[in-house]
Every structure is written in C-alpha cells, then in structure tokens.
C-alpha cells in the first residue's frame, strides 16, 4: 500500500545506473581504493554487461566527483588531498547555508519530520560505516526539505566526496564523532522544526567546522 502523496514516479532505470550503484558500493566498501584505475573491459567482464553502460556509469561517477576521466587514459578513483577537503568544506558550507534558509521557508512538516527521523536513525547504527551513511542521509534530508531542485543537484555533485571524507575521518579515529554527531543532528533537526533560521545557521556552521577540524588538525 502506497500513500497517495508518496507515489514514486516508478521510473525504470537503465543498466548504467545499476552499474554506477555497484561501483559506488565498491568504492565505499574499499574494493576500489583511491587512485586505482577502473578499466572498462575489466568492469564489464566483472559485472557481466557490455562496455556501453560501464562507460556511461563512469561518466556519472565523474559527475559525482568519485572518479576522474582523461582522454584515452581511462578513469581513476578520486584521491582527496588536503586542498580538496578545504574545497569541499567551503562549497558545502555555501550550499548548506542556502539549504537551511530555503528549508525553513519551503519545507512541509513531513519534510522536517523526515529530517528528524534521519537524525534518530543515526543513533541505531551498528558500526561507524553505517553512522557515516546515516550522517550523509541526514544532510540529504535537509537538502531535500529545501525543495530546491538545482540545489539538490549541486549537493549531489559533492555529496559522495563528503561521504568519502567522512570515511577517512573515521579511519583516523572515532572519538568525538560517534557520540557527538547524533546529538548535534538532533539539535539541528529541532531548530529546523522551529523554523528558526537565525539560530540554525550558526549551529550548522559549527557542526561542519567540528568535522573539518579533525582532519586539518591532525593531517
């Protein structure tokens, strides 16, 4: 049974999207480590599809910043340098600031309930990897609540790179992350439900700074 307002477009996806999902999974699971070359023939053989969808999937992942492609030199998994992380942090800040303002204005109560639910779901995550996944999902919900299609697309352009960044952060040590972030997310969700942009904006900024400092201080 599907509620009337939640009817998905039920659009069927091509093989390329499927392949892209598998590759993303592989990258986040560590099967394809950063810097590794992704050869089209190898992948098409492993996934049992032709090179066409693989090619298209690689371009999709390039759009997400997870791989880089060069002329006749194939695709390699993105490696995040410290400078890249600075870029991610600043751009993410600009996007999220707009997202919060728009969410406070345009979000439905259901949208904000979804944000709160994402914050709660994080508490029940069994291991750090799952926590990171829920961390991203929380911010996804915030962007979705903005009802700003192009803003969501811009976020998707760096979303997976931020995810990668979170994983490396976890690898450096989980102190101050696993316990602090869920509480912060809960507070942020509450401020959004109160539709208090003036209070929420600096809290979101602090939230980002906390994640960011961990890597710059030690790195």
């Amino acid at each position: 049974m599907i509620a009337p307002g939640h009817a998905e477009p039920a659009r069927r996806r091509g093989l390329a999207d499927e392949v892209a999902d598998r590759l993303r999974e592989g990258i986040f699971a560590g099967v394809y480590e950063p810097g590794r070359q992704l050869r089209e023939v190898e992948l098409s053989a492993a996934l049992d599809v032709s090179r066409g969808p693989v090619r298209e999937a690689l371009r999709l992942l390039e759009r997400e910043g997870l791989v880089r492609c060069s002329w006749h030199r194939g695709a390699t998994v993105t490696t995040l340098s410290p400078a890249d992380i600075v870029e991610l942090d600043s751009l993410r800040g600009a996007l999220e600031e707009l997202a919060v303002r728009e969410a406070v204005r345009n979000a439905t109560d259901d949208d904000l309930a979804a944000v709160a639910a994402a914050a709660e779901a994080m508490r029940r995550a069994p291991d750090p990897r799952e926590v990171a996944r829920h961390d991203i999902a929380f911010h996804d919900a915030v962007f979705a609540a903005s009802h700003h299609r192009r803003l969501v697309e811009a976020w998707q352009g760096i979303r997976n790179q931020v995810h990668l960044f979170l994983l490396t952060r976890i690898a450096r040590g989980t102190e101050g992350y696993l316990d602090a972030v869920p509480d912060e997310h809960r507070d942020l969700a509450a401020l959004l439900r109160a539709r208090d942009a003036a209070a929420a904006l600096p809290r979101f900024a602090e939230h980002r700074a906390r994640a960011f400092d961990v890597l710059t201080a030690e790195g």
Copy 2:
C-alpha cells in the same frame, strides 16, 4: 608564443565534446528552441557521427542543465519556468558569494586583470547576443579567479541556464541592460582588484537582483 604559466594541457577532446559544442551553439542560436525533442538518430545523421558520441553529448548537456533526459523518452531542450529562474538566482547567489570571497583571497593579479579585461570586452560587443555571451564570460572569469575547482564545476552546472535566462531577458527588452551592465561589471572588477570583499559582496548582490527583477516584474 605561449607564456610558460599559460601552457594548456593540449589535451585532445573526443567527438562527444565536439558534438556537445555544436548542440550548445544550436540551442543558444535558437535552432533548437526550448521544449524541442532532440532525437539521437536525427542528430547523429545531421552531424555525421554515430549515436554513441551523440548519446554522451546529451548526458553532458544534461549535466549542464540544458536538456532533460527520461528513460526511453529521449532528451528535450530545457524550458525555464519562473520557478526555475528563482532557483537559478538563489543558487547563483550562494555560489557567487563564495567565489567573490575566495577570489579576493586567492586570485593572482593576472586573474583579476582577466576579470577587468572581460568587463572591457563587453563594451565592444556588437549586438545583444554577444553582450550576453560576454556577460557570462565576465562571471566565468570571477569564478576562475577563485581558484576553487569544485566551485567552478558547480557554476558550470548552472552557467548555461543563466545564459539561457539572459537571452530570454534580452528578448523581453534591452533597456537598462546593454548600457547599465558594462558599467556595473567595470565597478565590480575594480572592487575585486582592490580586494575589498566587504564592498564587493553587496554590489554583486545588487547586480544579480537587477537582472532578476526585470523578469519577475514583467513575467
């Protein structure tokens, strides 16, 4: 003669990029009006290439927001609704604000000279279409001066849509555009060269608001 620092990677491009250029050209020239379907076979016949590169080019243009693709329903040239223009304006504002701050911090003198040159070049544009092209080129230069790769990529995700928006604005009437914008660009360039972010930011905001109001007031 090429200066040492300006040596382009001299990377060769594939047919897909070439096709994408031709299609963009066609869209901006009005050959493919908004809403029109772009059929792969038709395009591949017209441009005398196979469907592969055409397919890839369409995905590229989708990334730029110039076309929209659906499963088994092909690509259509984007039509900008009033709501889309509001989205473009707000997202562009968030990106450009960051670009100005980063440019003031990171830009070389050459970068800012290029911004100023772009502003001057606009004065010598022969017709409104060329003015719009130089208008975009000016903002390109600002983003380039930020030395922020991901920010530039995010800008490229809406750049061509903003261009489309400028063209429709011109179609509504050129008063207050052809004469005012070049002067504004000159002032903005000067503020950037003075590296005065505090003064530049509100001026950039006014500049965007002026372009934006024309369409919302009449539309």
